[in-house]
């Protein structure tokens, strides 16, 4: 009896590898973490990996246990496992809440807006990114732009009020006036994640240099 229970638990934990792998593959190929499918995949991954661990643990424990415990023994303290199960159900909302906290991330470059005339046309090995400050908001919405380390960045910025544009990390800061789009060209020679801000603190975009 005990052996069967232990083996069943071990088999269950092996079977659960399938949903875990499914979650893993979906997450690896996802472009964004805020879509429903990748949220769901993350949830499946977390729950199934936890279940694998717990089932494997209980299975091993049942198989190596000498004295009768938990399952099938004459002195069975059954309430504890069942209440554990009920409590476990109660944690599901919190896990969901924790997952909902995952902020957005786009690894694929978002659609580029029209390049300001000042930037001219880019050569093939340049990374072009544009942002506009309209009514205190970044247009398009703040996003992450992937830049290969060592490549040249052409950053086109237009504003509707006078602002100072600051590229963090490279410490480039330029004043930009309304109606005069500005083109900032520099070589991304330092790896990291850097904010491009219209000061004081409006995030236009983030450069992910790697």
């Amino acid at each position: 009896m005990k052996t069967w229970t232990g083996l069943l638990l071990l088999v269950a934990s092996v079977v659960l590898v399938v949903p875990a792998l499914f979650g893993l593959t979906v997450l690896m190929s996802a472009t964004s973490l805020v879509t429903f499918s990748s949220m769901f995949a993350a949830f499946v991954l977390v729950v199934s990996s936890a279940s694998i661990a717990i089932f494997a643990q209980l299975g091993v424990l049942t198989l190596i246990q000498r004295e009768p415990v938990g399952f099938g023994g004459p002195v069975v303290p059954t309430p504890a496992p069942s209440s554990g199960g009920r409590r476990a159900l109660r944690t599901v909302p919190f896990l969901l809440a924790a997952l909902a906290l995952l902020p957005g991330c786009t690894s694929a470059p978002a659609a580029q807006a029209a390049t300001p005339a000042a930037c001219g046309s880019a050569s093939p090995d340049q990374v072009v990114a544009t942002a506009a400050l309209e009514d205190g908001k970044a247009v398009p919405a703040p996003r992450r732009v992937s830049v290969p380390l060592g490549s040249q960045v052409r950053l086109g910025v237009s504003v509707d009020v006078a602002a100072r544009i600051h590229v963090h990390g490279y410490d480039l800061e330029y004043p930009v006036r309304p109606g005069e789009p500005m083109c900032i060209v520099f070589v991304a020679a330092r790896a990291g994640l850097f904010d491009v801000e219209a000061h004081p603190d409006t995030l236009l975009l983030q450069l992910e240099v790697k």
Partner: protein, 419 residues
């Protein structure tokens, strides 16, 4: 070169590579379970006795030094240069807030030993027992002060302004000294959030607790005076939740949301409080009868160190440079160390996962120790002893808590991945 416009520069770490995060996370979760089930079947962590770290008479000197430095920095914040060349923001947000964690993890509750407010309290000869002694609300005042501090650090507009920092520090000192005069010197141990912070992180210290992890098995203070460790759990929740908020609010998604919704400070305040409250409720609900504050400490420490690692490396020496530059020293010196992204990423993953493993072990050990105690009521002669609970029942009780810890670990890894 432009001066930093934000007081203290933000993190520029690359997001963690996803495959590294997923593989390391999954492996650790499975391993921590197997270790605790197969190898750790009896409670092994006994509460040790903390050692007093020998300072060979240097402690008064150290206290005096910290007091003088604090007074100088406070006065300089109020009367010195008003721009970002003032080291006040670095001193408060990098040296004290972030730097206190690694120092405490190594040496134990250092802030209790050198707290300038305590030194001031003794020098002013305020009544050590207090005018109206009492336990009051336990550690809850510390929780409120911590929430106020992280709000000031992460949300308050103009929080890098040296004048504002100076006035806030002066207000904090006056409020703390007043409460200490009322409640006695031990007020600082539960009302001064930096001291609570340092003493919690100090439970991991191998210098103070000779046997590894025995500090986490020792009973937490304030839990005996009719107040269960709810306050301490709330403290850890605010600590962890605020770091999570700092991580999440750096994402472009949050920036876009706030730009569209308007009123950034209001939204940030709501998100910060909701996050801390959510973590606390989750801790209380999942913990059941187990005392979990101790097992959450390594998780909070690991995540804090991972999140602020590069900030500490880059900005802490810059603060020293700002300070010496005021005295006309080291004009041409600059600190432009760029941490290798791969090394930082590896260290971050390792810190979070080590924190997770320690947390699981401590929780498991506490559950085993709780189960080993006889459940039934002992009466002379009568054999009503129910004996120790079976290991499986213990594991089942522990299960929701461990699931919550897995959630914390995955959330932490994912947050470092998106940031």
């Amino acid at each position: 070169m432009t001066v930093l416009a934000h007081g203290v520069g933000g993190s520029s770490d690359l997001p963690l590579p996803l495959d590294l995060v997923l593989q390391a996370g999954a492996a650790t979760v499975v391993l921590s379970f197997l270790i605790s089930a197969v190898w750790w079947r009896k409670p092994r962590l006994a509460a040790g006795v903390p050692r007093t770290v020998r300072t060979a008479g240097w402690l008064p000197v150290l206290r005096g030094f910290v007091l003088l430095l604090a007074l100088y920095l406070g006065g300089n914040a109020l009367a010195g240069p008003a721009g970002p060349e003032n080291p006040a923001a670095h001193a408060l947000f990098v040296w004290l807030w972030v730097g206190l964690v690694p120092v405490s993890v190594v040496f134990g509750p250092v802030w209790r030993a050198v707290n300038p407010l305590r030194t001031l309290f003794r020098m002013l000869r305020l009544p050590a027992a207090g005018l109206r002694p009492g336990a009051g609300l336990g550690v809850w005042p510390g929780v409120c002060w911590l929430l106020a501090f992280v709000w000031f650090e992460l949300v308050a507009p103009g929080h890098a302004d040296p004048r504002l920092i100076g006035w806030c520090l002066a207000g904090y000192a006056v409020a703390q000294l007043g409460m200490a005069a009322l409640r006695g010197e031990e007020w600082f141990a539960r009302g001064d959030c930096f001291e609570v912070y340092s003493s919690l992180a100090g439970r991991l210290s191998p210098v103070r607790w000779r046997r590894p992890l025995s500090g986490l098995a020792a009973p937490l203070p304030h839990s005996s005076a009719g107040l269960p460790s709810a306050g301490l759990a709330a403290f850890v929740a605010v600590w962890w939740g605020s770091t999570v908020f700092d991580s999440a609010s750096g994402s472009p998604w949050w920036a876009g949301f706030v730009q569209r919704a308007g009123h950034p400070a209001v939204w940030a305040t709501m998100a910060l409080v909701a996050l801390c409250l959510g973590v606390w409720v989750a801790v209380r609900k999942t913990a059941g009868d187990l005392d979990v504050a101790a097992s959450l400490i390594p998780i909070a420490v690991g995540y804090t160190l991972a999140h602020y690692l590069s900030l500490l490396i880059v900005e802490a020496p810059r603060g020293v440079l700002l300070l010496t530059r005021q005295w006309g020293l080291g004009e041409g010196v600059s600190w432009n160390v760029v941490p290798v992204p791969a090394a930082i990423a590896g260290a971050q993953v390792a810190l979070i996962l080590v924190g997770h493993v320690l947390g699981v072990i401590v929780a498991h050990d506490a559950a085993l120790a709780g189960a080993a105690r006889p459940v039934g009521v002992r009466r002379a002669g009568a054999v009503t002893e129910a004996g120790p609970k079976p290991v499986l029942a213990t594991l089942a009780e522990e299960f929701p808590l461990v699931l919550f810890m897995i959630g914390c670990t995955w959330a932490g890894l994912f947050l470092l991945f998106v940031r």
